[in-house]
Symmetry: C2
Subunit: 370 residues, 2 copies
C-alpha cells in the first residue's frame, strides 16, 4: 500500500499534499468530516440502549467511540470542520461527549432517513460553505488499531477526490471470509494506491466470501466515502434527484427530511455510479458489531475466557464478561460459552449462539430498560 | 400430629400450659431461647459472605433470617429471654439486626467450637439465672412457613422437658428422601404427641433415606433441642465432662473456649443419651442450605425459571435468578439450568450442578469479595 501523508508530515518528498487541491491554483483544499452516528445498537444491549447507543459506550477503550472517531482525525481535519450527524434526540448527549467540538457541529436529524439523506445533507453543507472542499463520510463506531495508517488512507482518497470528479472510498482489506459486510470489487489502478471500483456487492454467503477473499480483489465496504461537493451533487442529480432540495437547502431539515425515502447511500448512489475509486485500508478496522466480535480485541485466559470486567472463573471456559459503568466482580463457576454483560441497571446472560437474538429479547423489555 | 398450644391460645381444654411447670407448684416455668448463629454460609455466596453470613440476608422474606428467628418466638418466649450465640466479630451486626433485643442478649463466642460449646454455654446461663426454666436451642436460619405450628411443637416439647428429665427435640416430618440431613428414629409414644427417640442417625445415602421415609418412623434432625438446665447439665456430666467448666462459669468465654474441642452437640451428647424424646414437626421447615433449595420456595414460570429478582427471560428454562440489595434487571437469553445471583459488589453465574463447588470458588476470591 502506498503511504501518502497529510500536510503536517511530508516525508519522502512526495509531490502532493491532500490539503493542496489541483482545482484551486495550489491553495490548500480543506477537508470536512461528517461522522454518521445514527445507529441504535441493540446488539450491544445492555451496554448500548435506545437512548445511549453504541457511540457513547466507553467499553471499547476508555473514551466514547464517538470521541475516538473525532480524535483520530486530528492533524487531518480541522476540529471546526468535523461534524456529527445524529438523531435530534441524541444531540445533547453527543455535545456532552464532544466538549471540544463547536455545539453547532452536532447536527440532529428530525427523523432517521438512512445514509442517503445524511450524505446529501453533508453535500449541501460543503457546497455552501467551501465549494472546493473535500468531504469525508465516516461511520461513528468502528475501532481502528493503526490510526496513522487510517489517516494516510483517508488522505490518499481525499487527494484523489480533490484531483478528479470521483467518489473515493476506503475499503477494508478483508482478514476472513466475512458474511456480515458488503464487498467492493477493485479493478485497475487509476493512481498509485488508488484503484477503480468494478462493483459494489451485497453481503455474500460463506462460499462466495471465501471466493472473494481468494481473489485478493475484494475489500469490505466500511461506509467511508470521500468526495468534492460538486462531484457528489452531480451524482445525486444523475441517480437520486429526490435529495437535491436537501443539497440546495441543508438547514431546513424539519421540512425536507419527511419528504425523503429511507435509503442507504450505497443503494441511492454508489451502486449506480461509475466514477468510484477505492483505497485499500489495512489499519486494524473492526466494526465491533457484536460482543463476541469485540471480545476478539481482548486477550483470553488459558480457558478462553475473555474478561472485559473483573472476573473470577473456576471450571469455566469460553465465556465473555463485560461491564460498563459497573465495577462489580463476576464469578463464573462451571459455565461455558456464555456472554455476561453488566451495566448499573441490567445484566445480560446469554449463550454466544443466542446473541444474534438479542434484538428479539430487547423488544420484550420495558421501555426504561431498552 | 397433635396440636398443643402456647398459653395465649388454649383450645380444646388441654390440661397443661407450657408456661406452667410441674416443678414449681403451678407457677409459670419461663422459656429461654438460644438461637445459634455461628454459620458462615459460603453456599449462598455472594449473598452471604464471611462478614455477612446467611442469617443477615433478607432475600428470604424481607427481614434478616435472624430477625425472623426472633420474631417467630413472639408469644412463646419473652423477648428478654431470647439470646443469640454468634461469633464475637458478628456481635455488632447482630445487635444492629435486632434492635428490639437487649444488647447483652447477643453473646459473642471468641472462637467457633461448634454446637456442644454453645449448648453448654446456654446451659450455664439458664442454670444460673432460672434453674427451673426451660431452654430452647434453635438454629438461626431455617425458613418456617407455619409459625403457629412451629410454636405449638416447641411448646409441646417444652412442656415435656419441664415435666420430666428428658432432652426433647423437634424433628421435621420428612417431605422427600433427603440425603443432606441427619435423621432421628422415633420409638413409642411417651406422652400425647411425644415419642421416645430410638436413635440419631447420620446423613444417609439415597436408598437408606428412601427406606427411612417409607417406614414413617424417621424425622429430620433440625438442631432444635429443648431441656431443663439440670437435665442438660447431667447429660454433660455423664457424656462430655470437658464442657462442665463452661456450664459452671458461663461468662469467662475468653479463657474457657480455647480449652474446648470443636464438636457438635449431636456427637457430644445426643448420640450417647437415652433420655431423648421427639416431637414431630410439620410446619413447612426449610433450611435453605443452597440456592436451588431456596428457589423451591418461590413460584416458577412455565419454563421453570425462578425469579427472586426482576428477570426477563427469552428461550431460557430452568434458571434461578436472585439478588439482594441490588435492584438490577437480569435478562436471560438462550440459557438453561443456570444460577445467577447479584449483590451490589458481585455477580455469580454458575450451573446448578456446579453450585456444590461454590466453596471452592469462594476460596479463590480476594478477601474483600469472600
Amino acid at each position: 500500500m502506498s503511504a501518502p501523508t497529510d500536510s503536517s508530515v511530508a516525508p519522502q518528498g512526495r509531490p502532493f499534499s491532500v490539503l493542496r487541491s489541483p482545482f484551486s491554483g495550489g491553495e490548500a483544499a480543506t477537508l470536512h468530516a461528517f461522522i454518521l452516528a445514527g445507529g441504535r445498537g441493540e446488539r450491544f444491549w445492555p451496554i448500548s440502549t435506545f437512548n445511549r447507543p453504541k457511540q457513547f459506550c466507553t467499553l471499547f477503550g476508555g473514551k466514547p467511540l464517538i470521541a475516538q472517531a473525532v480524535d483520530r482525525l486530528a492533524g487531518l481535519v480541522p476540529q471546526t470542520n468535523i461534524r456529527i450527524i445524529t438523531s435530534a434526540d441524541l444531540v445533547p448527549a453527543t455535545r456532552d461527549a464532544l466538549p471540544g467540538l463547536p455545539a453547532a457541529n452536532v447536527i440532529g436529524e428530525p427523523i432517521g432517513r438512512d445514509t442517503a439523506a445524511a450524505v446529501a445533507l453533508a453535500c449541501g453543507i460543503v457546497a455552501r460553505e467551501d465549494p472546493q472542499g473535500v468531504a469525508l463520510i465516516l461511520p461513528a463506531d468502528p475501532l481502528i488499531a493503526d490510526e496513522a495508517a487510517f489517516r494516510d488512507a483517508l488522505a490518499l482518497a481525499a487527494a484523489q477526490a480533490a484531483r478528479e470528479p470521483v467518489i473515493a472510498t476506503v475499503g477494508i482489506a478483508p482478514t476472513y471470509p466475512a458474511t456480515g459486510y458488503g464487498y467492493i470489487e477493485c479493478a485497475d489502478e487509476s493512481a498509485p494506491g488508488v484503484r477503480r471500483v468494478r462493483r459494489f456487492v451485497e453481503k455474500p454467503d460463506l462460499a462466495t466470501a471465501e471466493r472473494y477473499l481468494a481473489t485478493g480483489a475484494f475489500v469490505w465496504n466500511a461506509g467511508i466515502f470521500v468526495w468534492r461537493a460538486d462531484t457528489m451533487a452531480a451524482a445525486f442529480r444523475a441517480h437520486a434527484p429526490q435529495w437535491l432540495p436537501l443539497i440546495e437547502n441543508p438547514t431546513d431539515l424539519e421540512t425536507l427530511y419527511p419528504t425523503l425515502p429511507k435509503l442507504s447511500v450505497d443503494y441511492a448512489i454508489m451502486e449506480k455510479s461509475d466514477n468510484l475509486v477505492v483505497v485499500r485500508g489495512d489499519f486494524g478496522w473492526d466494526d465491533v458489531g457484536t460482543l463476541p466480535a469485540l471480545a476478539r480485541q481482548f486477550p483470553a485466559d488459558p480457558q478462553g475466557n475473555v474478561a472485559i470486567a473483573p472476573t473470577y472463573a473456576l471450571d469455566a471456559a469460553g465465556n465473555i464478561v463485560a461491564a460498563e459503568g459497573d465495577p462489580r466482580a463476576t464469578a463464573l463457576l462451571g459455565v461455558s460459552g456464555l456472554i455476561v454483560v453488566h451495566t448499573p441497571k441490567a445484566t445480560l446472560v446469554c449463550t454466544q449462539d443466542a446473541a444474534q437474538d438479542l434484538k428479539r429479547l430487547v423488544a420484550t423489555l420495558p421501555p426504561d430498560l431498552r
